[in-house]
Symmetry: C2
């Protein structure tokens, strides 16, 4: 078999270390010229594949590729776009295979969350149905840490570290001024359905008297009366109260505490506004002075304080994906297996895509404090290894030097395709 | 003259490096035992002085005092509390002098912003009027960077660095996903009346095509129509738009874009909610998908990425305050004088408190881009030196080790006093 081209594409929300995965894919592919000719990157994920907007990574210098390890955001662009089916007659699907054929593609590496593992599963079935077999490897990535079957998802450790640090820092601020100023501080973090990021804030303190005093998980029903009572008791006991709330918390009716009404391209409700909503409750019912922060994209792009472990895992899943492909594997996702908690030991492995696609790993009760408002010792044991190490980027004039690629496109061979 | 005690107190909003100033005061005072006996720290600023809650810093080890250089928040507590007048018959004022007398206080170092310089000015007049002269030295600190007569205010450089980095990082995230996801991203930063922090975000990019595309200053009137047009044009030109908004922006009627109705103890309106308000405008008038972040306390407590220059200046103003007192100065504030832009050279100096108290230094037009929505070259020249260097704290188990003091109080000698 002669060498084939590979396509690498990024999908869904980007992370502080997703480009380290791209680096792992490209650097490893360059070690197997007899199998992999060139790595073509989809511009804006699978959209770029459909539109035949493929970026030629062979034109990027070794130094530029190495620089991907410290570039946050998606180096080639990402997208939220879901294939409708694995039906070979679907126009999107036929187009994908046309693009694979036109560019002699033998490998497809798709870097994303649970939704994206579903996409790559469809692409694999499709390529077989249309008789143009492509080796399809899923590469995990999501700050939400909700892909099943892997110890953790690259991107999560760095957000976890950022949120734990930010909580510790802001809490010191609030604590020192609570006598005459803010009594209740609320930090809103990401997490639609799984509260892993909120859980990570729990690492900032130890015991119920150290902030964060209350963590609100999407796994638990938000009970307003109980919440108000907890805040009140905490302020009476400690003089202040630090709350970390997941964006995805819902009331007993299953309604998001704050729903903007918009939906993203995957059909998920677009959230935001939980912190102001909680602040309003604190104001109305307790009359306490509050402040709130919404970390939003700051948390998932905070490359300046990425966890070394996370960076290393992000690189490794990319490298392992190429290694798996070269070894003849397909229809698998690379996963991370934990061998030991302390010191943390792990290795990469592969698992069947079917076991992963469209499933969501939630925070188990055993990782939560008994009252459901904090982290347990078991949760700590799981989380602590994931935030270890500070993978500082290089600085220039006081700012991180984040070098973007040239991203030169390949010449198009097919007619224009509208998605 | 025999050695006297000194009181050091922190006032107003705390910063990532305010405790480095405390460290400068205490370490320098320990060098002059023939003049300064002990540094007593006011618990929660001047409140602790009034209530005779004085913390004995002589009981803290050299190592603990050195650790103040990397502790965010206010190590002894801070407060928002303003003396009503310099009238010697005012109960607060008589009490202050009683406390000074009871604890043999000869020096008062007050670490705060413009309001606090006014307080110390009053205390000085008062101590003279009541015939118990105390040397009063103001020590500047404010993330708002709005104290006049000093090149910059310790605390600001670190917020500036944090906001510039966060803007650069979040912008890379937004840029890489704009094709199918968020088109408009808004970051709300602090700054009631002065837009220095918002200006600092401008360092994240160069030229109008690099994010942040639009900066909203409280110095400029917010014109909704023009704002909407600028956002629209930017999204059409660049595919996305990154906006950094100061919390203090006002419309043509002088109304804060988002006013919560609450006021703090200095009588300032308590703000928050500009980002959601702007997001709403973008949604209603342009129908573009948006996200917003509110940095709030995260920005001013982010010791994990404090600027080395800022940390050094924070320490130096504390050390210089003690040096000035030992040299017999009083009724002065320590200031920072810029000697050279590049490489940045500066020295500490002292200035008359009267020239400082209750004045606010705004961002000059010449530091803004011609259209009022960005930073100019002159603004860059001023700001860049202030964010240089990364003063990383030490880490333990993936988190910064922020060691708090014991804060053991002195035995009280006076009757209880209610403020």
């Amino acid at each position: 078999m002669s060498a084939k081209n590979a396509i690498y594409a990024q999908s869904g929300g980007v992370t502080a270390v997703i480009n380290a995965t791209a680096c792992g894919v490209i650097q490893t592919a360059r070690k197997f010229p007899e199998k992999i000719n060139n790595v073509l990157a989809g511009k804006n994920g699978i959209l770029g594949v459909l539109q035949e907007e493929l970026l030629d990574t062979s034109l990027e210098s070794d130094q530029a590729i190495e620089g991907l390890k410290s570039l946050p955001g998606g180096a080639f662009g990402s997208c939220r776009y879901k294939l409708k089916s694995a039906d070979p007659s679907d126009p999107d699907n036929r187009r994908l295979i046309d693009v694979f054929k036109a560019h002699d593609v033998g490998y497809f590496f798709y870097n994303g969350g649970g939704d994206s593992q579903d996409t790559i599963n469809k692409v694999s079935k499709l390529s077989q149905a249309l008789n143009f077999p492509v080796q399809c490897i899923g590469v995990p990535k999501t700050v939400d840490n909700d892909i099943v079957g892997t110890d953790t998802c690259p991107g999560f450790g760095s957000v976890a570290k950022y949120v734990a640090i930010s909580t510790r820092e802001a809490a010191l601020d609030v604590q020192s001024m609570a006598e005459t100023s803010t009594k209740v501080f609320i930090l809103e973090v990401m997490g639609r359905h799984a509260g892993w990021i909120a859980l990570a804030a729990g690492l900032a303190g130890s015991g119920p008297d150290e902030p964060p005093h209350l963590i609100l998980f999407p796994e638990n029903t938000f009970e307003e009366d109980d919440f108000v009572e907890q805040v009140d008791l905490t302020v009476k006991r400690m003089g202040y109260c630090v709350i970390v709330a997941s964006e995805g918390i819902k009331d007993a009716q299953g309604t998001y505490l704050s729903e903007s009404g918009r939906k993203d391209a995957f059909g998920h409700a677009q959230l935001g506004g939980v912190a102001p909503r909680l602040a309003n409750i604190v104001d109305q019912r307790l009359g306490l002075k509050y402040h709130y922060a919404v970390a939003d994209y700051l948390q998932r792009s905070a490359r300046h304080i990425a966890a070394s472990v996370d960076l290393e895992q992000a690189y490794s899943v990319g490298a392992a994906a190429v290694q798996a492909a070269v070894n003849g594997e397909t229809d698998v996702m690379v996963s991370i297996k934990r061998l030991k908690d302390d010191p943390y030991e792990w290795e990469t492995s592969t698992m069947d895509l079917q076991q992963v696609a469209n499933k969501e790993g939630k925070v188990p009760k055993s990782y939560m404090r008994e009252d459901g408002y904090g982290i347990s010792e078991e949760g700590r044991r799981y989380l602590t290894p994931l935030i270890l190490g500070e993978a500082y980027p290089k600085y220039e004039a006081g700012l991180p030097r984040y070098q973007q690629l040239q991203n030169r496109p390949l010449t198009q061979k097919l007619p224009v395709y509208e998605v």
